[in-house]
């Protein structure tokens, strides 16, 4: 991996998009989509699980009553259930397979944007490598045949980020009009993504600050215009749904209302990694050693109460009847409890990051739980090699991203955008965490990995080497924290007995 100069892609101006290697990008995107279609065929027949069933129930509610019901403990954004409702409304027995196939097709937007990022930040060669990595990255690809909202969300969110980057480029050229057009598109896409997931709601703040910082040379008025356009467009896109929430609940809920429940799960004595919750039950069913006995308790154990017993934590605000009011009461309780237990908070937050960067994934989890039928391709002969590849793929992408972020990517607003987005996801993971919560940045990690694989140590400096070394050591330490349960869960995936 010799260092090499970035191709002109990283230095483009004006009509940059037209000069992207579109033929290459489209061919690789088609390959990735074809592989996902094959995965779908190999996954069938597949029964829906946990949140998938909840989305389907909500879609049936829309179908029967035209009403989107809340979920008692939280209010999810409506987009995914609504999309499901649009498809199952056709009434065909193959509806769910049709919906999965739509997701497979939608994933092309993710692949194309991943390659555009790699081309913009590195080179056409990096774009090709990023595209190939994206094509075979099972932790991401598997979501196309699962009924979780990740694929549709990313198909909106990632292009939104791409247009923000394009706006930063235009802004750097002093072309405010074209920057504004890009931000308008980015805002609409981000608003669409917020109909599927509430998570990136507050990302608009650091993005607006980044836009403002980069637009400074254009003067205060232009800076204000560009910094406000993205959040304004996104919020206006959300506004009809927000207005509906205000009418129905009499409270403001911009996208969804999930924070309080997440605080209950994330800032409470009982440590929860949602990857492992069903696995813990399944291990009990199979008579395997409980995960609680395997995990490194120093990072998960509850604090000790005054009487020497484990602190039981706090209970949900069940007496607060209103579903949205309850969220703020849970938030208050969680913060109060966490402030009282700073030591516990610090050690368990390390575990949160460990859960975020785990090589584990929903694909491996599904295999560990035996969710792929033995008669299906994925649950049969291909199970073991694909589980091994899925784990390896994550290791390669995460390690490559750590090194690429430190040593390969050049300075500039492309790097700043990735840093802000990745940093945001790491910040959010301090509350609740699991492998699925890494999905929004998985394509960006692929981009950085591809940059490292193609350009190696393109930027040599002591701070960069120190940062790269620290990132790899931190990654290794975080893997070590969760290694016992990751190994146990991976073993279940490899040796599953039904």
């Amino acid at each position: 991996m010799a260092a090499s100069e970035p191709e002109p892609a990283a230095l483009v101006t004006g009509g940059a998009l037209a000069r992207a290697p579109w033929a290459l990008i489209l061919v690789i995107a088609a390959l990735g989509v074809a592989l996902r279609a094959a995965l779908l065929a190999l996954a069938l027949p597949i029964e829906i699980q946990s949140d998938e069933a909840n989305y389907l129930y909500l879609a049936l509610g829309l179908e029967r009553f035209g009403i989107y019901f809340d979920q008692h403990r939280y209010l999810w954004p409506p987009g995914y259930a609504w999309l499901l409702h649009c498809v199952i409304g056709d009434g065909s027995d193959a509806d769910l397979t049709t919906f999965r196939a739509i997701q497979v097709a939608a994933s092309s937007a993710i692949g194309i944007t991943t390659m555009l990022f790699a081309w913009r930040l590195f080179s056409s060669r990096a774009a090709a490598v990023a595209g190939l990595l994206w094509s075979v990255h099972l932790p991401l690809a598997a979501f196309t045949h699962l009924l979780w909202s990740e694929t549709v969300f990313l198909a909106l969110f990632l292009p939104a980020l791409w247009h923000v980057l394009a706006a930063l480029d235009r802004s750097a050229e002093g072309d405010e009009r074209r920057a504004a057009t890009r931000l308008l598109v980015a805002g609409l896409l981000l608003g669409g993504a917020l109909h599927l997931k509430e998570a990136p709601l507050f990302l608009m703040v650091p993005l607006a600050l980044l836009l403002a910082w980069r637009a400074r040379p254009m003067g205060p008025a232009a800076t204000l215009r560009l910094a406000t356009l993205l959040p304004l467009a996104a919020l206006v896109t959300l506004l009809p749904w927000t207005a509906r929430n205000h009418e129905v609940y009499g409270r403001v809920a911009l996208s969804g209302s999930t924070l309080g429940e997440n605080v209950y799960q994330g800032l409470n004595a009982h440590y929860v990694n949602f990857d492992m919750v069903p696995l813990a039950r399944e291990r009990g069913r199979r008579g395997l050693q409980p995960l609680a006995e395997i995990e490194r308790r120093a990072f998960t154990a509850p604090p000790t109460a005054e009487n020497g017993a484990p602190d039981p934590g706090w209970v949900r605000a069940a007496t607060t009847f209103h579903p949205i009011e309850r969220q703020s009461e849970n938030l208050r309780r969680g913060i109060e409890w966490s402030v009282d237990h700073p030591g516990w908070l610090a050690r368990t937050r390390l575990k949160k990051w460990s859960d975020l960067v785990t090589p584990f994934s929903f694909f491996v989890r599904h295999q560990a739980l035996g969710h792929y039928a033995p008669e299906s391709g994925l649950g049969g002969a291909l199970r073991r090699p694909l589980v091994i590849w899925s784990l390896l793929s994550s290791v390669i992408v995460l390690l490559g991203a750590a090194l690429g972020g430190a040593l390969s990517v050049g300075a500039g607003h492309g790097r700043a955008l990735l840093a802000v987005t990745i940093g945001y996801v790491f910040s959010a993971a301090l509350l609740v965490s699991m492998s699925r919560f890494r999905v929004p940045i998985e394509p960006l990690l692929i981009v950085l990995c591809a940059g490292f694989l193609t350009h190696g140590v393109a930027h040599r400096s002591i701070p960069r080497f120190l940062f790269g070394g620290a990132a790899v050591i931190a990654l290794g330490a975080l893997w070590w924290i969760s290694w016992p349960e990751t190994r146990a869960a991976a073993a279940m995936a490899l040796e599953v007995t039904r």
Partner: protein
């Protein structure tokens, strides 16, 4: 000024959305009136019940018991099914100490009443699925999550397609922890 055009356009759209929302706002009193109005359209009653139930800041026996009964006694199957959704079930739950009652009694009695001579009718199937598979789980009367088979049956009823025999359906529900004979649960 033209540089501000996107902002102005977006703010104008926002203004229009807000004005429309204000113009179509329904007071809680009006929502309650429509929900209880036997003469009103079924969908309007359900939407009004949804609004009144979601806005409430405390359990309302008027919603959880009176309106639930009114819906369950209605001719319209849509209204009867709306009575077992989360909106009214949440209001039907009594608190016992620190915990909510596990099942909303009125809805439970309806869903588990003996099947008629027609067996598992489309309406009974939908009511059972809506009640027992609701998101929110035990806290609002649910048991487990919906399966694709149940969703398929549910959709078949909506498009008028034939259902499997009652025995097959009840056996399936029993295998997924829903009492198959559809008798009232223990203690009721």
């Amino acid at each position: 000024m033209s540089a501000w055009r996107p902002h102005i356009l977006l703010l104008a759209i926002a203004g229009a959305v807000i004005v429309r929302a204000a113009a179509t706002h329904v007071s809680t009193e009006e929502a309650m009136r429509v929900a209880f109005d036997d003469e009103a359209d079924a969908r309007a009653r359900i939407e009004s019940a949804h609004v009144a139930a979601c806005r409430a800041t405390a359990r309302s026996a008027r919603l959880g018991e009176d309106l639930a009964r009114a819906f369950l006694e209605a001719e319209d199957e849509l209204l009867r099914e709306a009575a077992v959704t989360i909106d009214l079930c949440r209001h039907a739950l009594e608190r016992r100490g620190d915990r909510d009652e596990r099942t909303p009694p009125i809805q439970e009695a309806y869903v588990y009443s003996p099947l008629g001579p027609d067996g598992m009718t489309p309406h009974r199937l939908r009511a059972l699925v809506l009640h027992r598979r609701k998101v929110g789980g035990k806290a609002v009367g649910g048991i487990g999550r919906i399966s694709s088979t149940e969703a398929d049956w549910f959709l078949r009823t909506l498009r008028g397609a034939a259902l499997p025999p009652t025995q097959q359906m009840t056996a399936y529900f029993q295998s997924r922890n829903i009492p198959s004979r559809l008798v009232r649960p223990r203690g009721r």
